[in-house]
C-alpha cells in the first residue's frame, strides 16, 4: 500500500472496507445474528438522550396544553357538558343491552374464557434511524421482563412485536413495516388471512380468496394463530377491496394510531396465549392501561362465571 499512488490507495481502501462489510453481512445471514454487541453499545449510548428528549418534550407539551392553550376552554367546556349528558343517556341504553346480552349468554350456557396475560406499559422514546423501516424504541426492556417476540398493543388495537430487547429499552417492529405480519381474520365472516405492512400507513390482508365476501368497513381482528397476540384484538378496518388474480387485494387501516404512538402495552409472555372461545368481539380487549411502568398481573376482564348470574 505504501508504494501506491494516493489515488490508488484510496481505491484499495474503498474496496477493502466494502468487502469487509459484505463479509460482515454474509456472516450475519449465515449465523442469523444481527451484530448484537454493536447494537447494544449504540442503543445504550443513544437511548438516555432519547429518554431525556421524550421527557422534556412531554413537559413542554403538558405546559402548553395546561397553561397556554386555554383560549377555547369555556366553549369546549359547554360542549363537553352537553356531550356528557348524551353519553350518560347512551351508557344507560348500552347497560340495558348489555344486561340483555348477559341473560341470553347465560341461557345458552355460554362461558367466556379470558386469558390472564401479564403486561407492562411503556413509552415510545425513539424511532428507527432507517427511513425505510417502521421501528420504534420503548423505555422498558429486559429489566421489566420484556423479551423478543412479545406482542405490543394499545387499547385501540395491535401495534407490533418486540424484535430486540436491551437492559432498559426494546425495539418494536410496527405492523406497518414490510417485514411485519399478524395472524388475523375478518370479525364478521371469520375468514382468515395474515395482515402485514407495506411500508405505508395502510396494511394489506393477504390470501383471501376471490369467492369470499369482503366489504369495505369490515373489522379485522387477530386470529390468535400467530401465537403472539390473543384472539379478537382489533387489527384494523378494511378500506379497499379489489379482485386480484387468485386472491382479493385488501387494504386495511390500522386500529391503533401507529403513526402517533406515545404509550403502548407490552404483553409479557412469549408462550402461546390462552385463546378466548368464539365470543362476540369485545373491541377494546386491553381495557384501561395501568400506571406507567407498573406490571399488570392480568387483564382487567371478569373471570368466567363472575359476571353472569
Amino acid at each position: 500500500m505504501a508504494g501506491l499512488p494516493s489515488r490508488h490507495r484510496s481505491l484499495f481502501l474503498l474496496a477493502g472496507v466494502v468487502l469487509l462489510q459484505v463479509l460482515m453481512l454474509a456472516v450475519q445471514i449465515k449465523r442469523d445474528s444481527q451484530g448484537r454487541l454493536i447494537r447494544v453499545w449504540t442503543v445504550s449510548a443513544v437511548s438516555p438522550v432519547e429518554r431525556s428528549g421524550a421527557w422534556g418534550i412531554g413537559k413542554i407539551r403538558d405546559a402548553w396544553r395546561h397553561y397556554f392553550a386555554l383560549s377555547d376552554t369555556a366553549r369546549r367546556n359547554e360542549e363537553l357538558i352537553r356531550e356528557n349528558g348524551q353519553l350518560k343517556l347512551e351508557i344507560m341504553q348500552l347497560q340495558s343491552k348489555s344486561a340483555e346480552a348477559d341473560r341470553l349468554a347465560s341461557l345458552l350456557n355460554f362461558k367466556q374464557k379470558q386469558a390472564k396475560v401479564p403486561m407492562v406499559l411503556a413509552r415510545v422514546i425513539g424511532a428507527s434511524a432507517d427511513a425505510n423501516s417502521a421501528v420504534v424504541y420503548l423505555d422498558q426492556g429486559l429489566h421489566e421482563g420484556i423479551r423478543k417476540n412479545m406482542g405490543v398493543i394499545t387499547p385501540e388495537g395491535v401495534v407490533g412485536k418486540v424484535i430486540e430487547s436491551y437492559a432498559n429499552t426494546c425495539q418494536v417492529l410496527l405492523l406497518t413495516d414490510r417485514d411485519s405480519g399478524v395472524g388475523a381474520m375478518i370479525a364478521n365472516s371469520r375468514v382468515h388471512g395474515p395482515v402485514g405492512g407495506m411500508g405505508e400507513p395502510l396494511l394489506v390482508m393477504k390470501f383471501v380468496g376471490n369467492d369470499e365476501e369482503v366489504k369495505i368497513g369490515d373489522r379485522i381482528v387477530t386470529s390468535g394463530m400467530d401465537r403472539i397476540f390473543p384472539k379478537d384484538l382489533p387489527v384494523g378496518i378494511i378500506t379497499q377491496v379489489k379482485p386480484g388474480g387468485q386472491y382479493k387485494q385488501i387494504r386495511v387501516r390500522p386500529s391503533a394510531g401507529i403513526e402517533k404512538l406515545e404509550e403502548v402495552i407490552v404483553l409479557l409472555t412469549t408462550d402461546p396465549l390462552t385463546m378466548k372461545q368464539d365470543a362476540p368481539a369485545s373491541g377494546n380487549a386491553a381495557a384501561a392501561p395501568p400506571a406507567s411502568g407498573q406490571p399488570v398481573s392480568e387483564l382487567s376482564n371478569p373471570k368466567p362465571g363472575e359476571k353472569h348470574p
Partner: protein, 174 residues
C-alpha cells in the same frame, strides 16, 4: 478525527480550513439522534436522511477520499446499529457515498447552492440504489427501485441539504 482539511478553489490555489474541535463527531451524533427521535413526534420527518447529508457535507468538504469513505463507514454502521437492518447495509452505501463525495469535492466547486442541491439529490438517489442493490443481491429482500415517496424524499433532502450545509459552513474556522 483530524478536523483539518484542504479547500481547493482551483488546481493552482489551495486554502486551508479547519472545523472547531469535535465538530464532526458532534454533528454525526446529533444527526443520528435526531434521525431516531424526530419521527416519533413528526411522522413526516421519517423521509429525512440526516446521516446521509452529514456524510455528503463532510465528504465534499474534506476532499480526501480515504477519510471521506471512513467517515461514511462510521456513520453508516452507527445508523445500521440503530435500525433493524443487518449491520453493513447502510455502512456499504455510505462508504461509497463518502468516497465519491470527497473525490468530487476535490475536483468541482461544491460551494454554490445549486451545485449542492444537484449533488445531494444525485447522492441520495445513488445511496438508495446501493441500498436496494445490496438488499436484492446479498439479503434476498426485494425492494422497489423507485417510488413517489423516494422522489419526494430525494427533493426534500436536497433542499434541506442546501440550508444545512450553509449552517455547517459557519462552523468552519476562518
Amino acid at each position: 478525527m483530524n478536523d483539518t482539511f484542504d479547500l481547493r478553489i482551483s488546481e493552482s490555489h489551495i486554502e486551508v480550513h479547519k472545523f472547531h474541535g469535535g465538530t464532526i463527531l458532534l454533528c454525526v451524533i446529533l444527526a443520528l439522534i435526531l434521525q431516531a427521535f424526530l419521527p416519533v413526534y413528526i411522522t413526516k420527518a421519517s423521509i429525512l436522511d440526516l446521516p446521509l447529508l452529514i456524510t455528503i457535507y463532510f465528504g465534499l468538504s474534506r476532499r480526501n477520499p480515504s477519510t471521506g469513505l471512513l467517515l461514511g463507514t462510521f456513520i453508516g454502521l452507527l445508523q445500521d446499529s440503530l435500525s433493524k437492518t443487518p449491520i453493513g447495509l447502510f455502512g456499504i452505501a455510505k462508504t461509497v457515498i463518502g468516497y465519491l463525495a470527497s473525490s468530487i469535492g476535490a475536483r468541482l466547486d461544491t460551494e454554490h447552492p445549486l451545485a449542492r442541491f444537484a449533488l445531494t439529490a444525485a447522492f441520495f438517489a445513488l445511496h438508495q440504489g446501493i441500498v436496494v442493490l445490496v438488499q436484492k443481491l446479498l439479503l434476498a429482500q426485494p425492494q422497489p427501485w423507485f417510488t413517489m415517496r423516494l422522489l419526494v424524499a430525494c427533493i426534500f433532502n436536497a433542499i434541506l441539504g442546501v440550508f444545512l450545509y450553509h449552517f455547517l459552513d459557519r462552523l468552519r474556522k476562518s
